[in-house]
């Protein structure tokens, strides 16, 4: 039984991409939304469409406006300009208690004077549900978050993980159209956080609801979300599925914010269809990069080559001339992480390049060590050329 359900979820996940479908109507629309607090602009002209059943992440450093954007959807802040619609309905002037949107707070905000069951029953009670229905709903929610035996406890008698689940159950109990999660796992330790991420994804699929999560943790966003919006200084920098954000970052900022990256300043020497030849002061040889559509750059442009450390190869022997792009350098530092090692390679010009290699074998005849002369190679498809 469980197996079939997993397969269905898998099938949905494989094909789910309403944002590529021009005929799909978005559930939530932010239209040119601006929010100013006095002279400070927290959210600057954001337009964003979120689709039904999507797990959408707002990602950015603290103070980038992601929480403000979410609070505007919940109704705790009013946009200074622009408007937000939900299922076609303009939300301007609709108070938080009349929006079909619920929020799970970072602090959980469980009512300390009420039991777990009363906390969960709070929403349905306000909605005016019948007593028997409320009891059934509370029961259902407790089962959903596996806290059946904790109904009578008070919030202060629960562990952090249990409180997080009560907060989740409480915000789901009214079956909102959209669930907003404000740094929902921030207070949990790493192991529990990772487990909970997968539970959240399954829950979202099972309930067929739209989730909007705010987080500063890029791994969390990459794990749970169908699409990620990267924000900085109140502006949307890029909105894409996790793989596109990671492999095709739109700007240096995104490349640098998500994961580790080496950014090398280059000049375009020549364009050959989608292939670019770049020259850079850090190596005498020109670099060959396959960019696909050339990304609108032309000969003579100053660009940045972004390469992820895991897409570089490192070796002690000099590679063939045909091996592609190559930097020669010396090992400056090694970080041994167990599953992989991170090498900091210093090039003759002083620039340091980060290379990570999986440790595939337990025994290595001649491990790479400090001050070794090494060669760093990469294929034309390893890096991405950014013009800003």
């Amino acid at each position: 039984m469980a197996k079939t359900r997993t397969q269905t979820i898998g099938a949905v996940r494989r094909t789910f991409s309403p944002w590529t479908d021009a005929t799909a109507t978005p559930l939530i629309r932010f239209e040119n939304v601006v929010k100013r607090f006095g002279a400070f602009t927290a959210v600057n002209n954001v337009s964003l469409d979120i689709y039904e059943r999507e797990f959408f992440a707002l990602l950015g450093p603290s103070g980038c406006g992601k929480t403000t954007l979410m609070r505007m959807l919940a109704g705790f802040e009013d946009p200074t300009e622009g408007r937000i619609t939900l299922a076609g309905q303009d939300l301007s002037g609709v108070p938080p208690y009349r929006r079909p949107v619920n929020m799970m707070f970072q602090s959980y905000a469980l009512f300390p004077h009420m039991s777990v069951a009363d906390n969960i029953a709070f929403g349905p009670k306000q909605a005016g549900m019948a007593k028997a229905d409320i009891d059934a709903r509370v029961e259902e929610m407790l089962t959903l978050v596996k806290l059946e035996s904790f109904a009578k406890r008070k919030p202060h008698q629960l562990s952090g993980g249990q409180r997080q689940r009560v907060a989740l159950a409480r915000s789901l109990a009214t079956r909102p159209k959209v669930l907003l999660l404000d740094e929902p796992l921030g207070a949990l330790d790493k192991k529990l956080r990772e487990e909970t991420q997968f539970e959240l994804m399954d829950l979202q699929m099972e309930l067929g609801m739209t989730f909007l999560i705010v987080t500063h943790d890029q791994e969390e966003a990459m794990t749970v979300a169908d699409r990620i919006a990267v924000m900085n200084h109140g502006v949307l920098v890029q909105v894409d599925p996790p793989a596109a954000i990671y492999e095709q970052p739109a700007t240096k900022y995104v490349a640098d914010f998500i994961g580790d990256v080496n950014i090398v300043e280059c000049v375009v020497d020549g364009c050959f269809g989608g292939d670019l030849r770049l020259s850079t002061p850090i190596t005498p040889h020109p670099l060959q990069i396959a960019q696909g559509d050339a990304g609108g750059v032309k000969t003579g442009d100053k660009v940045w080559l972004a390469i992820r450390p895991e897409k570089l190869r490192i070796s002690l022997e000099a590679p063939d001339a045909a091996a592609g792009n190559c930097f020669a350098g010396e090992i400056f530092d090694i970080g041994y992480l167990g599953d992989l090692s991170v090498y900091h390679v210093e090039l003759p010009c002083g620039t340091r390049i980060k290379v990570s290699q999986p440790n595939l074998s337990r025994m290595v005849e001649r491990p790479i060590s400090w001050e070794d002369k090494v060669y760093v190679t990469f294929t034309p498809h390893a890096g991405v050329v950014l013009s800003r």
Binding site: Q157, R163, T174
Partner: protein
């Protein structure tokens, strides 16, 4: 016991408490004096408490005092809580610091001045002085005490609790009564009790704002003492001390429990 009390500490403690409580203790003891003469012990008796029940004047005054105290502290609690809410919640409104200063001014205002200015006001607007003017005056001077107590609680109140309630479909007014108020209730109750005892003890402001037919207990006692202390006065004072003690002890227990609860919650929150 690694830290035993030294003789110096014990002496200081005994002298300190003696200084504070011997007069009160004396009063309580002499309220059980069988003799009519206040300063001569004539054996144990509870006759003055019995006599008290027949002393119409004192009983009337006590009744007035209780009514004034109850009514004024009730109104002062409502107003003080509202003032505290306004001061903590609405970050920067026009004239905020003026308003906050004006709320707290009666705390340090000499009672004579408060009493006199209220008297002038009542005379000026032609309000007939009596029970209601005392009550109004007491509301004025006890309200700020309530505001201080409630505000100190509201400062540490987690606003996301109210937002969560709103988010779950509860309108603001209802949110205040089912979320905010239950959580700040201990502070509101301590504020009420503080206002109640302040009103019960007040002599100066009540003397200024009273009128015919509204004599409070402190006023009655004061005027009788001028003609000589009777054991009945001792008895009624003992009763008052009893009431005030019970109220104060209850209020401080409430505050302590609230503090302990908050500490527990914080520890529990830090534990995860």
């Amino acid at each position: 016991m690694s830290k035993s009390l030294s003789w110096f500490n014990v002496t200081a403690l005994v002298l300190g408490f003696a200084f504070l409580y011997i007069p009160i203790l004396l009063l309580v003891i002499y309220s059980f004096n069988a003799s009519r003469l206040v300063t001569i012990w004539g054996g144990f008796s509870t006759q003055w408490y019995g006599a008290l029940l027949e002393n119409e004047q004192l009983l009337d005054a006590a009744w007035v005092t209780l009514r004034v105290a109850f009514l004024s502290s009730l109104v002062a609690t409502v107003l003080g809580t509202m003032a505290a809410l306004a001061l903590t919640r609405y970050g920067r409104f026009f004239g905020r610091s003026l308003f906050s200063g004006m709320t707290y001014a009666p705390l340090v205002m000499p009672e004579v001045i408060t009493g006199l200015s209220l008297l002038l006001l009542f005379v000026a607007i032609g309000l007939e002085r009596g029970f209601w003017t005392i009550t109004l005056a007491h509301i004025t001077f006890t309200m700020c005490f309530v505001a201080v107590v409630v505000q100190s609680r509201l400062v540490t109140f987690d606003r996301s609790l109210e937002e969560a309630a709103l988010d779950l479909g509860c309108p603001p007014f209802k949110t205040f009564f089912i979320i905010t108020l239950p959580l700040i209730l201990p502070a509101v109750v301590s504020g009420f009790m503080l206002a109640f005892t302040l009103s019960m003890d007040d002599l100066v402001i009540a003397s200024f704002t009273t009128g015919p037919g509204a004599t409070t207990l402190p006023m009655r006692i004061y005027s009788q003492v001028r003609m000589g202390v009777t054991p009945e006065i001792n008895a009624i004072c003992t009763v008052m001390i009893g009431i005030v003690t019970v109220v104060v002890v209850f209020a401080s227990i409430m505050t302590k429990r609230q503090e302990a609860q908050r500490k527990r919650d914080e520890q529990a929150a830090a534990a995860h």
